[in-house]
Amino acid sequence: MNAPHPQPAPLRRPFWTPGVLVLLCLVGAAGITLLLRFSGGIGAVSNLSTGRPWGLWVAVDVASGVALAAGGFTTAALCHLFGRHRYAAIERPALLTAMLGYTFVVLGLLVDIGRSWAIWKPVIFQNHHSVLFEVAMCVLVYLHVLYIEFLPIVLERLRQGVRLPGRLQRLSAPLMTTAERLHRPLQRHLWLFLIAGVVLSCMHQSSLGALLLIAPTKLHPLWYSPLLPLLFLTSAIAVGYPMVVVEANLARASLASADEQAVLTPLAGISRYLLGLYLLLKIADLSWRGAWPYLLEGSAQSLAFIIELGLGVLLPWLLLLSARLRRSRRGLFCAAALIVGGVLLNRYNVFVTGFMPPFSGADYSPALGEWLITAGLIASLMLLYRLLVTHLPILVPAAPAPAVPENRPQEDRP
């Protein structure tokens, strides 16, 4: 902690930077692709087929999106359920990422499903046998729980006084009064939503892994296991804090938020156990099912699995064991990035690489249109993140926030 009371505050940073322009280009390219998608159908922009109904969008936009948003519930649990208030500084950025992450999961789903306009139908037509139904309901409820969890941040900003531009100015006063009135009851009941968020997360993080249990003949035996739900849950919990580490470093580099290394180092200490547990489960799972020989298959699947487990789990776990590395900003960032990449690759492997349809679609690789839409969604998420942290009290500014914020433009550090 570099200041006695390091409070989150809106970061007064210029919005237009070269990085933002690059992101905007990606959003533009995705916009054009979306026009094609919503004028010519899914087939116009994707390589999806009868044998390959799920591709990049499900693997990355949906499955990885949900996994990498796990920082939200793991951080909330740490700060409030386990009472570790010293991690408060990372709670709001983690919550923001989760909220944006789930928002974009739903946006990604709207692109992927054939009848986007019918996305509400599972609420009415319920198939309780369907794993996907449970996932959908959890994501739907959790998304709203996240919005409620995020509301205090908005209220805090409103209570500090707002001046809406132009004609909206008349609304400023009632808005502030409403914020003032909502503030207390919300604070009193927030714990309910925090716990509900953790419960809902445990449910659908694990159920995402159960999705492919119904296709035992299609998923490669390196991944197909009755333990898939548990593995998905454990890896989501394990990736939560590393994702926070990656984010905090990116925010510090590009937004000049405060250096949170003092909090990230003990966080990495916890991660080492969580990742260790996941590694242990992975190894036990392979051994119990006798799936080790498939590693020597020499196929794309075995190679992908070796990279996933070796570079994405084993290596970062070994790195995290070193106390010196956990204190090193760069070292910890690298280890955390490896873990994030490892979970991303795991979800891609389960839904794409390891999914082996018997007759067609085995040679699937995502089409340009699929890449563009995925990249555009991620870019939009990052832009919204930047926009929200510049206007809402989410990150702790690097310098102790002075009364008159100085707008000294700083070079974006790489």
């Binding site: 010519g40 306009w117 139908k121 716990i195 548990l230």
Partner: protein, 310 residues
């Protein structure tokens, strides 16, 4: 720190334990939902001559777009086809090395369509129940419930459901309907009624199985001793007899258990009455209360948590 770590382990262990413990008891509880009076079809591949009349009848009765190549065009057999959004059944030709009495190479023709599983994975997976198994055995699709998630296509072990990927607003999952409207009128599916060699027998599934066993007994030299679909993925409504081993005709080797069993058992044992989420909610509430009491007094020196209930 130590406490939080231990707490996390406890949580994970509880989750793992819950999963593991609930599996064996649940497995016994799972029951097949196969209808007792299911209808089916028995395809005797030794009788099929590859005339493609079934394809034509299917195209007509389902009002599908006209095919790119005429139904009389037999050059089509030079490549293997799969059912798709415009053809719900297709016939393929195989040369398995089978020869007749004169030593002439004999082709084998295989008709493909939805197998109408007794416990269909597609219907179990379907998020809205747009796919369902009717009491008469047909696995049918209700487009008005469909959201287009395509989980049915992921779940189907036969890779049968196809999708109208080019359709913008109302793409449908396309697969053989077993001519469900005809069945409802007490009629025979179009392909079975049109078949000139009676390669497709239509009737109650249990009777068809008897018939198939009868043929295997009567003419053991004519058939490979297996009825495809009798046990595959818990049994399918469509059954096959063949002269040559099924693997040589592109049939998949599939497990004998119904595919929805594992997922439905997990769902039921973990989430019936939402007991596990409620238990977890209770445990976490207790944890929250305890840690809140414990950390309240000394923690005031630190940053007050903005989100914490003070």
């Amino acid at each position: 720190m130590a406490l939080s770590r231990r707490g996390f382990f406890k949580l994970s262990a509880a989750g793992a334990g819950g999963l593991l413990l609930s599996r064996p008891t649940g497995a016994r509880a799972w029951q097949s939902k196969a209808p007792p009076d299911a209808l089916g079809c028995l395809v005797d591949l030794t009788r099929c001559i590859g005339c493609r009349k079934c394809e034509q009848a299917c195209n007509a009765v389902n009002q599908l777009p006209p095919p790119a190549q005429a139904f009389s065009d037999l050059t089509l057999f030079d490549r293997q086809r799969r059912p798709d959004a415009r053809a719900l059944t297709v016939v393929n030709r195989y040369h398995s090395g089978r020869v007749d009495a004169q030593g002439v190479l004999q082709p084998d023709y295989v008709k493909l369509q939805c197998m109408h599983c007794q416990d269909p994975a597609c219907a179990s997976a379907c998020i809205t129940g747009a796919l369902s198994k009717r009491a008469d055995g047909a696995v049918v699709y209700d487009a008005t419930k469909c959201i287009g998630c395509r989980y049915c296509m992921v779940a189907c072990p036969f890779e049968i459901p196809a999708y109208e990927y080019q359709d913008l607003v109302t793409p449908r999952v396309m697969k053989c309907t077993f001519c469900a409207p005809l069945l409802a009128d007490g009629k025979v599916p179009a392909c079975a009624s049109v078949c000139p060699t009676q390669a497709i027998s239509f009737g109650r599934r249990d009777r068809l199985l008897q018939l198939a066993h009868q043929r295997l007994r009567d003419q053991p030299a004519r058939y490979t001793p297996h009825i495809y679909g009798e046990t595959e993925v818990g049994g399918t409504g469509w059954l096959y007899l063949s002269a040559v081993p099924f693997e040589r005709l592109g049939f998949l080797r599939l497990p004998g258990r119904p595919l929805p069993r594992l997922t439905e058992t997990l769902q039921k044992s973990l989430f019936s009455y939402l007991w596990s989420p409620l238990v977890l909610f209770g445990l976490l509430t207790a944890l929250y209360r305890r840690n809140q009491r414990k950390t309240m007094p000394p923690d005031t020196s630190l940053t007050p948590p903005p989100g914490g209930a003070a």
